[in-house]
């Protein structure tokens, strides 16, 4: 939460499309996603499972298993180059060094056979060939100190199973930031953790992003986490960003009916009254195989109109920095289809 008003853009994703080929048909997991990430910004991407939030970021990292998946369109500009067009060799210089990622489950993302020291030194020396082993180890210990691992000189020699869930996630963060990455993509970093540990990890990410000037993309399904952490939020539904706004604006004036429903359907400790029924969005999230050209939310939407059945709504800017893609905000004259 240390976004300056004139911060420059570090990552710009334009019209990203990632499709997966399956026996049942083509799954349009991400279909035309665009966003900008500024220096020092924390950007939240929220959505339900299957909405394409993880695939978006895996596409940016070029980690989509291919086949079956493929980035079929779009660009992602980082330091002036389109990283989606880079060769694998060039991408390796960026991945882990300039853009790094932490995952939901810290146990499966650390190698159980190798000591933490081996794994951290490997990362460091891969990206900085001049670093000696001793220097890399020193840097690893320094990073472990920074993420709050007590007794780091000794713990660096431990194996991943000797750490608890929260500690493993700290190790992952230390590893991800050890090369001074400019962008940290955190894919549900606290979903597998308990509330008290979640609070520790979120505080750590926030503190380090200020200290090291890292821009963070935080992927989560928890609206509470977003509220406390992010400057801007993108809400995803069925592979598309349906609304994007400053965090405060989004919660105060959600424009898209899906965002509104999502915010209202979470019980709140401070204001929800006893025995009150929760607002609920009826129905199920859509299957993204062979979606017809309509608003994917219309079967569940309580404000659906005729036009929603026939065409996907264009993106409209309500005010600066608040964009929504819903027919409600399009002039009646412009609601044409076919």
């Amino acid at each position: 939460m240390n976004l300056k008003p004139d911060a420059k853009v570090v990552l710009e994703v334009k019209d990203l499309q990632t499709y997966f080929k399956t026996d049942a048909g083509i799954v349009k997991a991400v279909d035309g996603v665009s966003f900008k990430l500024h220096e020092g910004e924390t950007l939240g991407i929220v959505g339900e499972s299957g909405s394409g939030k993880s695939v978006t970021n895996l596409s940016v990292m070029r980690l989509i298993p291919s086949p079956p998946g493929k980035v079929v369109g779009g660009q992602a500009f980082f330091e002036g180059t389109d990283i989606l067009a880079l060769s694998e060799k060039e991408m390796r210089k960026i991945r882990g060094a300039k853009i790094s990622m932490i995952f939901q489950d810290p146990m499966t993302s650390l190698n159980p056979f190798l000591r933490i020291s081996t794994q951290m030194v490997e990362t460091l020396r891969l990206h900085n060939k001049e670093l000696s082993k001793e220097e890399a180890l020193e840097r690893s210990i320094e990073m472990l100190h920074l993420v709050g691992i007590p007794n780091a000189e000794k713990r660096v020699r431990d194996y991943p199973h000797q750490f608890s869930g929260g500690m493993r996630q700290r190790v992952m963060i230390a590893m991800a930031l050890s090369c001074n990455a400019q962008i940290l993509i955190a894919d549900e970093p606290t979903t597998a953790l308990d509330v008290t540990i979640q609070a520790q990890i979120l505080e750590l990410i926030a503190k380090l992003s200020v200290k090291m000037g890292t821009a963070v993309i935080l992927i989560t399904h928890d609206l509470g986490v977003v509220a406390g952490m992010c400057d801007h939020v993108c809400v995803m539904y069925a592979g598309k960003i349906v609304e994007r706004a400053e965090t405060g604006k989004l919660y105060a004036y959600p424009a898209h009916p899906y965002t509104e429903g999502l915010i209202k359907s979470v019980p709140r400790m401070d204001t929800t009254k006893k025995g009150e029924r929760l607002f609920s969005i009826e129905g199920q999230p859509p299957n993204v195989i062979d979606l017809p050209p309509c608003c994917p939310f219309h079967p569940r939407c309580h404000k659906a109109m005729e036009v929603c059945h026939h065409a996907y709504p264009p993106l409209r800017e309500l005010e600066k920095g608040h964009e929504v893609s819903c027919w409600l905000y399009v002039d009646e004259k412009e609601r044409v289809y076919e």
Partner: protein, 357 residues
């Protein structure tokens, strides 16, 4: 509410799992104290929420109550009998009135059974043994399955489908229909909404509270999400390392948490509102939940407690009554003595002498 007879009485329930080591000659080297002496009552028509971090023993508690694990010691009184010592036949009868809903809707439904046979299974079993109030014919069972499906919001035309054809939320509805099949009095719900998406979670929570009103059900509801617990419960029990640390009326607990652990837990839970989040003071607990494999002589929360006193290191706090319907297990609320100024030596001396007695 307190004038009513409790539906379920749990007294000093303990569930210890042995840890064995050695590859050929298995030796017992200790115990995991998953549930370590808890007592509580559940009254008809209420929802008791149990909240705590992973590994604190919430799930083991309900599994011990339903005798899926035989408790190490303690007693569970339900319908006039002690389930811990009950024989098979008594247990079968008791289980008719006590059903469970599980966390993972993918693992808790047999993938080879159709929805119809899943929901009908309890009815068929109890019907065959003649344990139902009146015997049912096959057609009546069929109708009952259809009724249940409609009641939980599933299309009855789907009854010949298999679980994999349904989404997570719909599967949880199947699980709920199965739990309702025998008209139980109490339902033990073990994290029924944790695996679901936000929009589906609110559908299931609404369904559960509608069913409670309609059938006069009693719930024991487990969750790790504090907001969910607060929404659904009438009373809340906070668990830590196999013990209840605070039991209270739901509204009061959230307005006035007493135990340092409850306070920290509440302050750590994010609230989906940026303006509230900015102004909040967080109590960040250091460290992790310790392993429950060693015997403890002091307060279970001692290592992580921000308000710990020397006295707490060697005395296990009992449940103190703070006010009606609000109990807390913390030495700070002992009205008979102030322990702030007791030094470590004095505390240890007191502990040693009380052990001799």
């Amino acid at each position: 509410m307190s004038k009513q007879e409790p539906l379920l009485e749990v007294r000093d329930l303990k569930q210890h799992f042995p840890i064995s080591s050695g590859s050929i000659l298995q030796k017992q080297v200790g115990f995991i104290r998953a549930v370590d002496g808890i007592s509580f009552d559940v009254y008809p028509g209420e929802t008791l929420g149990i909240v705590g971090e992973s590994g604190c023993g919430k799930s083991t508690t309900v599994r011990s109550i339903s005798q899926l694990h035989k408790p190490t010691s303690g007693s569970v009184f339900f319908g006039g009998i002690d389930l811990v010592t009950a024989d098979k036949h008594q247990m079968l009868k008791a289980r008719r009135e006590m059903q469970m809903i599980f966390q993972d809707p993918y693992a808790s439904l047999d993938p080879r059974m159709t929805v119809r046979s899943i929901i009908a299974e309890p009815l068929v079993i109890y019907n065959r043994r003649g344990l139902l109030e009146k015997p049912l014919t096959n057609i009546e069972i069929e109708h009952r399955v259809e009724d249940l499906m409609e009641r939980v919001g599933l299309n009855k035309l789907f009854k010949n489908r298999y679980p994999h054809e349904f989404s997570g939320g719909q599967r949880q509805r199947i699980g709920i229909a199965r739990a309702l099949a025998l008209n139980p009095k109490i339902i033990l719900a073990d994290e029924p909404v944790s695996a679901l998406d936000v929009s589906i979670q609110s559908q299931i929570l609404n369904l559960l509270s509608d069913l409670q009103k309609e059938f006069g059900l009693t719930y024991i509801f487990i969750a790790h999400d504090l907001a969910v617990i607060q929404h659904i419960s009438t009373r809340v029990a906070v668990m830590y390392l196999g013990k209840f640390v605070e039991v209270s009326d739901a509204v009061r607990l959230y307005d006035n948490p007493l135990h340092p652990y409850t306070t920290a837990l509440l302050s750590a839970a994010p609230i989906p509102d940026p303006t509230v989040e900015k102004g909040r003071q967080r109590i960040i607990l250091s460290g992790d939940v310790p392993s429950p494999d060693q015997e403890r002589f002091g307060c279970y929360f001692y290592e992580r407690c921000p308000k710990r006193m020397p006295w707490c290191s060697c005395h296990i706090p009992p449940m103190f009554d703070y006010e009606r319907d609000h109990q807390v297990a913390c030495w700070l609320y002992d009205t008979t003595r102030d322990y702030q100024n007791v030094s470590m030596e004095e505390a240890q001396k007191a502990a040693a002498s009380s052990q001799v007695v």
